[in-house]
């Protein structure tokens, strides 16, 4: 925030600088990261404003004209509207579809990460605090969960409960909570050995108070940093599941489902139906990765 926040590599980390400013400075300090952060902010804004800025409501069948199906980018349709990114097989404007798809993708990515974070942090905190048999039981389950490729677990789960935005979120929470639990436990175990916790115990503070008021806020940092990258993972997983046909329903297409819809037209040269949502997805994932990776490095967190 200060004028000295230039693009130098060394970031002065004064202990009294507010955390928010430190984070901002770390993101701003490199051009790539800055670009990625701006891009990411743009995506979130576009997703939030989609209903107001999209040229067309892609979910409103009445506003679609089937006559305008599979038009190339930049062509004008029957209604006089110009489709800058072309149309799909239903005559849907791809630009509008992408803006709405961005909404679904971000919704799933953010809420599943939040859910997985809540469960994982709680489990890791309890394991670290209580130790013994509880710790062993929780960590055994965590090891078990992490032993399988997430795509396979989510695929089989969704195969049995069916598709739907809420169900995809549940499936992603199920495959992602374990990594947060492991991280949180490790982080909380380190914190627990510090003197202020010992002091709190000697004061006779109740265990729950120590866990929630001292251990949680002081050990959650690294988990939050890692979760930034995990949002990209959640979005990728959702896109993959939707591409395979077990993800979000056709009535609420995410970027992954839009790509899947365009796949069959790829070979006949109508590339835009799949490629433009794909570019949006790739840019979204890359920007999350770059920002997340920068945060992870500057806070020196090992994933």
């Amino acid at each position: 925030m200060s004028p000295s926040g230039s693009s130098t590599q060394g970031i002065p980390a004064y202990a009294d600088t507010p955390l928010r400013q430190k984070v901002l400075r770390r993101i701003r300090s490199r051009p790539t990261t800055r670009g990625a952060a701006i891009l990411l902010g743009g995506f979130v804004l576009l997703a939030l404003l989609a209903p107001f800025i999209a040229p067309q409501n892609p979910h409103d069948l009445a506003s679609l004209s089937v006559m305008d199906n599979r038009l190339a980018p930049g062509t004008g349709g029957m209604t006089g509207m110009v489709y800058w990114l072309g149309t799909d097989a239903q005559g849907r404007d791809m630009l509008s579809a992408i803006l709405y798809g961005l909404r679904t993708s971000l919704l799933v990515g953010l809420s599943s990460t939040a859910g997985a974070l809540a469960i994982g942090v709680a489990a890791g905190l309890v394991a670290a605090q209580l130790g013994g048999a509880v710790d062993a039981a929780i960590m055994r389950v965590v090891d078990f969960m992490l032993g399988f490729p997430s795509i396979l677990v989510a695929l089989v789960l969704l195969a049995s409960i069916g598709r739907g935005v809420d169900k995809v979120i549940i499936a992603i929470i199920l495959v992602q909570w374990a990594q947060y639990a492991r991280l949180m436990r490790a982080s909380a175990l380190v914190e627990r050995r510090k003197e202020y916790i010992e002091a709190a115990i000697n004061f006779g503070l109740p265990t729950r108070h120590i866990m929630l008021a001292h251990l949680l806020p002081n050990s959650i940092g690294s988990v939050l940093v890692v979760s930034t990258i995990s949002i990209a993972g959640a979005i990728t997983l959702e896109a993959t599941l939707s591409f395979l046909g077990v993800g979000v329903p056709v009535t609420q297409p995410s970027l992954g489902l839009l790509i899947a819809n365009g796949f069959e037209f790829l070979l006949s040269g109508e590339y835009w139906i799949a490629v433009f949502p794909g570019i949006a997805l790739v840019l979204l994932i890359m920007s999350l990765n770059v920002v997340g990776d920068r945060l992870r490095r500057s806070f020196n967190v090992r994933a």
Binding site: V156, F243, V246, F263, Y271
Partner: protein, 325 residues
């Protein structure tokens, strides 16, 4: 060592049992396959007969015990859709997936190790940065998207390679393989490359990190002081020492390659196990889904087991801990 092996074996069996319970109840708990299998005009009596024949009228736990009893005899149920044993159906698709995974793994190692060495020997150079930047793309982009871009580039735009199916096959020892015909290899190249890319990236990173670290070690300094040529230092001393993590990754990733081949096989219409899983999910063909997951789990458990033993064979220090456990 025997105690260690035994302990690992018991663990593995427990994992398999746990997976069988979880998967069986997850897959059998919801969705009624009868609705899909029986045409609407069939009479109620015929319908009930089919339900009885498939054992769907029994309580779920009883279905599980029947299933496990049969599973121990090597019978994982009959496919609702195809009417043949599920395990037969999967094993028939195994060679297609296996040759895909095999080629992908070889590609990943053949490209990953040299590029990793190159990047690790001079980490600050421009090519090294380029390679490391590429690895981020390699494993963060969704696999299905990379596959589609490969199709678009090599199949549609350039027209060099076919993009679907296995192509011409020859029979070797009773298995159909695409590895031995030119047409088959052409069909195999794109899906194998797509499957290989994330592993290539992983291998480059591992080898690069290992190389950078190894170059600072005393044995490298000693060899250099002795006047050994750089080529020989890298090829003979460094490469050997960084191969252990590479072998581990090859082993562990073998399992996840089989899982991820589901996506690649769908994109490239490759008739392997993964495509079968997806098709079975669409058709609510539960026995095939359950059998697939159990076989995949068996594979993971087995591969991890073998990697541990191989690890012990490659690194003499590991054996000690093995005996103590």
């Amino acid at each position: 060592m025997t105690a260690y092996v035994l302990q690992r074996l018991i663990q593995s069996v427990l994992v398999l049992l746990a997976v069988s319970v979880v998967v069986f109840f997850a897959v059998y708990g919801i969705g009624d396959p009868i609705e899909l299998l029986v045409p609407p005009q069939v009479s109620a009596a015929e319908r009930a007969a089919l339900v009885r024949r498939l054992g769907l009228d029994l309580p779920v736990w009883q279905q599980y015990f029947t299933f496990m009893g049969n599973a121990l005899k090597g019978d994982l149920g009959r496919s609702f859709v195809h009417g043949v044993p599920a395990i037969e159906l999967i094993l028939a698709r195994l060679p297609a997936t296996f040759e895909l995974v095999l080629l992908a793994m070889s590609l990943a190692a053949a490209v990953g190790v040299p590029l990793g060495l190159l990047a690790g020997l001079d980490p600050e150079s421009r090519p090294a940065r380029l390679i490391m930047g590429g690895t981020v793309l390699g494993y963060s982009l969704p696999s299905f998207w990379k596959g589609m871009m490969l199709i678009l580039l090599f199949g549609v735009a350039l027209g060099w390679l076919p993009t679907a199916g296995r192509g011409e096959m020859v029979s070797v020892l009773g298995f159909q393989t695409s590895l031995l015909t030119v047409d088959g290899l052409r069909h195999l190249l794109l899906p194998a490359l797509n499957l290989a890319i994330p592993n290539m990236a992983l291998m480059i990173r591992l080898v690069a990190a290992g190389t950078t670290e190894a170059m600072t070690q005393d044995y490298v300094k000693y060899a250099r002081a002795k006047g050994v040529r750089r080529k020989r230092i890298v090829g003979r001393h460094v490469l050997r020492n960084i191969l252990i993590p590479v072998v581990t990754v090859v082993g562990i990733e073998f399992g996840s390659l089989v899982a991820f081949s589901t996506i690649t096989e769908t994109v490239f219409a490759w008739p392997g196990m993964g495509k079968l899983l997806i098709d079975s999910i669409y058709h609510l063909d539960r026995p095939v889904v359950v059998a697939y997951v159990l076989l995949a789990t068996l594979l993971f458990v087995l591969v991890n087991f073998l990697v541990d033993i191989l690890y012990a064979a490659l690194d003499p220090r590991v054996k000690l801990t093995g005996e103590m456990a």
